[in-house]
């Protein structure tokens, strides 16, 4: 690195010119909004009205707001429903496409297609598939089960939205697992096979320990994403999260409260602060679980 220090003398201003556009954008549209969200959460600011400092009033209101608890419950349930599926299913899928058999690259790409599509497209595809008169119900009726109101029942709708999230994420995490599986030494599998371990046993004693850190990574990524769920539920339950808002998620509530000309920026910011706190807590929790198990 000896040559680098000489650069400074030669071109004193250019390093900052290189970094300036990036710093400006990130500062103005990420870090400043972050600080201003925290500040606004202590005010009664509205879209068209500058706010006054109100202390913890927003947070006190939040505790007594039923919609807040509904949103928090749904977003938390989303983690519970989505994360186990997204940790396990893509791993199984990666094992399925790992072996190099003819046509496998086609299958790998095909399984990735849902990742590429916009969540709006995916949401609308599934709204139609799960419609009272849609394909899934046609098939269920054909096999004699009868039609199910996937999108009319509060809990079925939330479950359906989770299924859509899992469906869209499968290919993404499959690729992450494929990279991890490539690093598992084949000798381990062979030794286990020689010892008479079956496929399930080898999966649990060789594969899982070998990709454990990747599983933790996937758990961290998918739990943070799950808690911030917006689009799937917005599209499937409607902008208000169902007739009585019973399927509203926390981020949907932020969007409903804070936007538009009558937006309650202060209160929406307090809700956003909850999103920050939970997100950070989730990351710490997963990282701690990782360290605890490894020790």
């Amino acid at each position: 690195m000896a040559g680098v220090s000489r650069v400074r003398r030669q071109l004193p201003t250019s390093p900052w010119l290189f970094a300036a556009p990036g710093l400006l954008v990130v500062g103005a549209f990420v870090l400043y909004p972050f600080v201003s969200t925290v500040v606004n959460s202590f005010t009664d600011r509205r879209t068209l009205l500058p706010g006054r400092f109100v202390g913890l009033a927003n947070f006190r209101e939040l505790i007594h707001d039923d919609m807040f608890w509904t949103g928090l419950r749904n977003s938390t349930l989303y983690i519970v429903g989505v994360v186990p599926a997204l940790v396990v299913l893509p791993l199984l899928l990666a094992l399925l496409v790992q072996k190099n058999i003819p046509g496998i690259t086609f299958f790998r790409s095909a399984f990735y297609t849902p990742v590429v599509a916009s969540i709006v497209v995916v949401g609308l595809i599934w709204v139609w598939l799960l419609d009272e008169r849609g394909l899934v119900n046609s098939l269920l009726e054909t096999v004699g089960i009868g039609r199910i109101g996937f999108l009319s029942d509060q809990w079925l709708l939330l479950l359906s939205a989770m299924a859509v999230t899992v469906w869209k994420g499968l290919g993404y995490y499959m690729i992450i697992y494929l990279a991890a599986l490539a690093n598992v030494p084949r000798e381990l599998h062979e030794a286990a096979a020689v010892d008479g371990a079956g496929a399930v046993r080898r999966f649990l004693t060789v594969t899982v320990p070998a990709v454990r850190s990747t599983m933790v990574l996937v758990a961290a990524l998918s739990s943070v994403a799950a808690f911030k769920v917006f689009s799937e539920v917005y599209l499937m339950a409607g902008p208000d999260g169902g007739p009585a808002g019973e399927d509203t998620t926390l981020v949907m509530l932020v969007q409903q409260t804070g936007t538009g000309l009558t937006g309650r920026v202060g209160y929406a910011s307090a809700l956003s602060v909850v999103v920050f706190v939970v997100t950070v807590a989730l990351m710490l929790l997963v990282l701690r679980a990782d360290r605890g198990e490894r020790a």
Binding site: G22, S36, F111, Y112, L139, S231
Partner: protein, 299 residues
Amino acid sequence: MTVTEERTGTAPTAREARVTDEHGRRVRIGELAWRYALLLLVLALTVGPFLWQLSTSLKGPTEDIFGSPPSFLPEHPTLHNYERVADTIPVWDYALNSLKVAGASVVTNCVGSALAGYALARLRYRGRRVATLVFILAMLVPVEGIIIAQFTTMRELGLNNTLIGVVLPGSIGAMNVLLMRNAFLNLPYEIEEAAYVDGANAWQRFLRIALPSVRGTVAVVAIFAFMGAWDDFLWPLIVLSDPSRFTLTIGLNYLHGTFANDERLVAAGTVIAVAPLIALFACLQRYFFRGVGEGAVKG
């Protein structure tokens, strides 16, 4: 993602009678059979919904789309629904808006993150560590949590309800900057040092030596910027209120909200929105997979 690339090279040729796995050992016929059965099942589950949407969009007004058992292929395929979408919402204007937003996002992200990444990796100055930290912190901030403040910021700048307002917050992604930084850090320094000795300044070294060596990463940044902007929903939903300025995703949401009962229409709209990205993916798969690997490690 070298995994994918390495394996394509070892695909068995037609002359080989037996099928071998990645270690060159034979795969039994029985195992092969259930593997393909499972692969086809997953294929039906992942790609099937797209094909069903395509099929619905091609079915004419007289054809039953609700039938049980369902009919998977349209009897008389017609593009009529695509004409109707264009009559209902200005779908081609929306597509153009999406293209503008995605194109601008590609340019700003490639240029901005290459420049900043180079400054973080290769140039030495006071405050470099602080600058790196700024990007790391920005990467950790969840977008959903700052969206209201971004909206008020845009209002203050008078950019709400404009396409520039849609592009700006994601115009130089912190993660892209850090991806570029890593790419530059992985280059051997000797080449640039030689250029330095020859009298090349920072701009010349950046443009002629460093940048051409990280083209792969630039391609990854470009693709993910395009996909991110084309697919984005929450932010354009908040910042755009005038229907004449909608992007495709917001237009689709509007179409769904207003004409939800017309499944053929919505299906045609979704096909228009997803087709360009599937085509892009088909051509540039390598970079899509590589981006997942690099992004996951960083993110």
